[in-house]
């Protein structure tokens, strides 16, 4: 017998979040307001994702939590342990075994499958927020499909830098018409959102918004005919597993200019290294 209610949150809160999640699924890409609760962790540590996960978990779930692709960083370890204690669910680091994956800033390299759910931690859910600070205005812009300002922003990137300089939280248009923030994943991961077989849920705790993508939903990164979307990647291969396709982190190894590239996805890298050994 645990001292916590199943998955920490009280039932009242879960019902409120569950209602928001269903409306978010019904209107893909639209940000549904919800009454975000204080969680036993600071804002910015995934309070939105944690509340969505807590409301979606069933006792039979196998949970994986990743932070910037890694299973072994503070955020990932503490959220995993949080649900081990409060929900008693089994946890894993392996994508194919997991039924529910909570992620901060990456989509796993291993393709997701039907029946899986991925929960994104979102700091700023509103893609237009830095262009238009007023919520009343951004709401109107979404309802009218008025995204010209976003295209101007991407155009200004090209005028200034010769290419679209947005590299993460790259805006994408959902088939429903809404433009959404895919959370601060590298734009390398944007194509993985498109027609994913998994249910994708997005939770922003501080900003009190939930949005979602049902499986097999079209999600197209914004671009121009003459400047098509480019899911850029560091030109190199992983020093540990040799992958030439995965998203790479650059690690500085000494103070004499030594550096190496390694996979950002630790589960993918570890299983490739094992397979090769």
């Amino acid at each position: 017998m645990s001292d916590y209610n199943f998955a920490y949150l009280d039932e009242q809160t879960k019902r409120m979040i569950r209602r928001a999640l269903l409306k978010a699924i019904a209107v893909p890409g639209y940000q549904v307001p919800f009454a975000s609760r204080e969680m036993p962790m600071p804002y910015g540590w995934g309070t939105g994702g944690v509340q969505v996960t807590a409301s979606t978990l069933v006792p039979e779930d196998v949970l994986k939590v990743i932070d910037q692709g890694a299973d072994d960083t503070t955020n990932a370890v503490s959220i995993r342990r949080f649900f081990e204690v409060t929900a008693g669910v089994e946890t894993t680091t392996e994508v194919p075994v997991a039924t529910l994956i909570q992620t901060r800033h990456r989509v796993p390299e291993t393709p997701l499958t039907e029946g899986q759910i991925i929960v994104y931690q979102v700091p700023i859910p509103e893609p237009l927020r830095f262009l238009e600070p007023r919520e009343t205005e951004t709401r109107k812009m979404h309802s009218l499909g008025e995204y010209g300002l976003m295209h101007v922003k991407l155009y200004e990137d090209i005028a200034r830098h010769g290419e679209i300089a947005t590299t993460y939280a790259y805006p994408a248009r959902v088939s429903s018409g809404y433009v959404m923030d895919p959370s601060p994943i590298p734009k390398f991961d944007n194509p993985k959102l498109d027609h994913s077989p998994a249910i994708q849920l997005f939770g922003a705790g501080r900003e009190q918004r939930i949005y979602a993508l049902p499986p097999w939903t079209s999600v197209q990164s914004l671009d121009f005919e003459d400047h098509p979307f480019d899911p850029s990647r560091a030109d190199g291969e992983c020093a540990l597993c040799g992958s030439k396709d995965s998203y790479l982190d650059e690690v500085i190894t000494d103070d004499a200019g030594g550096r190496m590239f390694i996979c950002s996805d630790t589960d993918y890298c570890a299983r490739r290294s094992e397979g090769a050994a």
């Binding site: 209610n5 199943f6 998955a7 039932e11 009242q12 879960k14 019902r15 409120m16 569950r18 209602r19 928001a20 999640l21 269903l22 409306k23 978010a24 699924i25 019904a26 209107v27 893909p28 639209y30 549904v32 307001p33 409301s55 979606t56 978990l57 069933v58 006792p59 709401r139 109107k140 979404h142 309802s143 009218l144 088939s175 429903s176 018409g177 809404y178 077989p197 249910i199 979602a212 993508l213 049902p214 499986p215 097999w216 939903t217």
Partner: protein
């Protein structure tokens, strides 16, 4: 005063509601897919899946409209005991339960506003049976196409045409459940 039988709710509320919600999420995210939600014994004419949805999603913060023969004391008392909800006319409903004919016209339910499309009703429709045949469904949640025995293709297509406004549906038959969000394209 008669004594109403209030038993038949979730035996383990937190875990059972979590499982019921997961099935509802799967059903709404994959329109046309028929899922099972069992373990509830509500008073007739409420079915197991419809009652599980209500116990999972409804509380004093939202209000239900009971349509037609669902609006009877046994159902009201049972739902009031288990959820603490209010019973309201269709125009104010967050959730509604009834047979298809009893819920018409759909225009009486809140369908959201362009700036707040989520402020719309969710209709739980009691059917005699659910089968993966009949109307063709496509759109978000469906890989190529799916089929479901919808009660009225034309009215539902008109609801879908209002996207992002419109109401969302759960079709239920006994312990079976299928979802139909407003985003689903119906026909051709």
């Amino acid at each position: 005063m008669s004594v109403t039988d209030l038993s038949g709710g979730f035996s383990s509320p937190a875990a059972d509601a979590a499982r019921a919600f997961r099935q509802a999420l799967n059903a709404l995210a994959r329109p046309g897919e028929i899922v099972e939600v069992s373990g509830i014994s509500p008073p007739a004419p409420l079915g197991g899946a419809a009652a599980a949805l209500l116990l999972t999603l409804v509380d004093h913060e939202v209000a239900i409209h009971l349509a037609g023969r669902f609006d009877q004391p046994a159902v009201r008392e049972w739902l009031a005991f288990h959820t603490g909800t209010d019973f309201v006319p269709a125009e104010e409903a967050d959730f509604a339960v009834g047979r298809w004919e009893e819920l018409l016209p759909l225009s009486q339910f809140p369908a959201g506003t362009p700036e707040y499309p989520e402020r719309s009703a969710t209709l739980i429709v009691a059917m005699d049976s659910l089968t993966a045949s009949g109307s063709r469904l496509s759109g978000p949640g469906i890989r190529s196409e799916a089929f479901l025995n919808l009660p009225d293709e034309k009215t539902l297509a008109a609801n879908a045409a209002r996207f992002p406004l419109g109401v969302d549906f759960f079709f239920t038959a006994g312990d079976q459940l299928a979802g139909l969000p407003r985003s689903t394209k119906i026909g051709d």
